[in-house]
Amino acid sequence: MSGGEAPPRAGRPAADAADYERRLRAGMRLMSGKDRDAVSREIMGGVHAQAAARGGGFAAIAGDLDDPRWVGRQMVRVYGVAAPWLVACVALAVALALSSAPGALVGPATEGPAVAASLAGFAALLAVLFALLLSGMARLASYAAAAAVATRLAALALPQEGVALLDLLSAGELSLYLLATLLLLVVAGVPALALRLRAGDD
């Protein structure tokens, strides 16, 4: 066993094998369909074999099984996230990073509404990165963070009424902007590195 989170406390056991499989596949929804089918077939084969060996059908083993959603998430950590999810996640990070640049959504950049909108975008971006990390998808979080950092840096050149954001911000505001951008790397990059060192991330 390499790293990884501990199994969660046993919740409501699956009602039957179909319920178990449905929850297992839900836990693996971020995987490619081909991998999901193969893993599901293998694990369900084991579950059926265990039930047959016990002689009481699925009900006899239901309480002994791990939470199927958690099992599915463990498999996502082995197989990684499928390309469409990866693209969607990075695209979301880019969109939120862009919205976190003052003036990108609401202008002008130096006024209250623009600052409030950018703070909201930044908070949402942090929330997404934390959610990915808490789900054990450290590598995906680091990709999203890298894309967000690149977007925020590129946004400095974004013209607003003919003037680049870089020229609109004071030295103090620019420092704060760059510091917050660096924070994204710390938030997602450091835990990703730590999880990789512990082995067994996505």
């Binding site: 199994p7 893993v39 077939r41 293998e42 002994d64 791990d66 463990q74 082995v78």
Partner: protein, 127 residues
């Protein structure tokens, strides 16, 4: 640290070693591996599906195991059999050597019979 946490920490790392050692004797499928590991370890390695299958798939991705779907006779659904690769055998040999070094070293610490340089030299007292 509670007993449960001790057990979990000790079991980490031993699962992959146990799987490789078991498959050295021939190919097996998931449920079969669970039963054999439980029996041979006298119940210590009592794995559930959430631990076994990720470990098997990780070992397969690392090239230490290979897998093939086999259609058993009698109309039973196909089963995925795992067998150890040449890299797996090399890794197992290395792990066995490490395991022996660790057990020998730790037993000296746990029983207080170790005679490391600190003890032999009369040192080891906190300063």
């Amino acid at each position: 640290m509670a007993r449960k946490e001790w057990t979990a920490e000790l079991k980490k790392g031993t699962v992959q070693l146990g799987i490789l050692a078991l498959l050295e004797g021939g190919r097996r499928y998931g449920f079969d591996i669970i039963g054999e590991l439980r029996g041979r370890s006298r119940g210590y390695l009592d794995l559930k599906e959430g631990t076994l299958y990720p470990a098997l798939h990780r070992l397969e991705k690392q090239g230490l195991l290979k897998a093939e779907w086999v259609l058993d006779e009698g109309g039973a659904p196909p089963r995925k059999y795992y067998s150890i690769t040449a890299d797996g055998r090399r890794s197992l040999d290395q792990a066995r050597r490490e395991w022996k070094l660790m057990v020998d070293g730790l037993s000296g610490v746990l029983t207080g019979t170790g005679d490391g340089p600190e003890r032999a030299g009369g040192g080891g007292e906190p300063r």
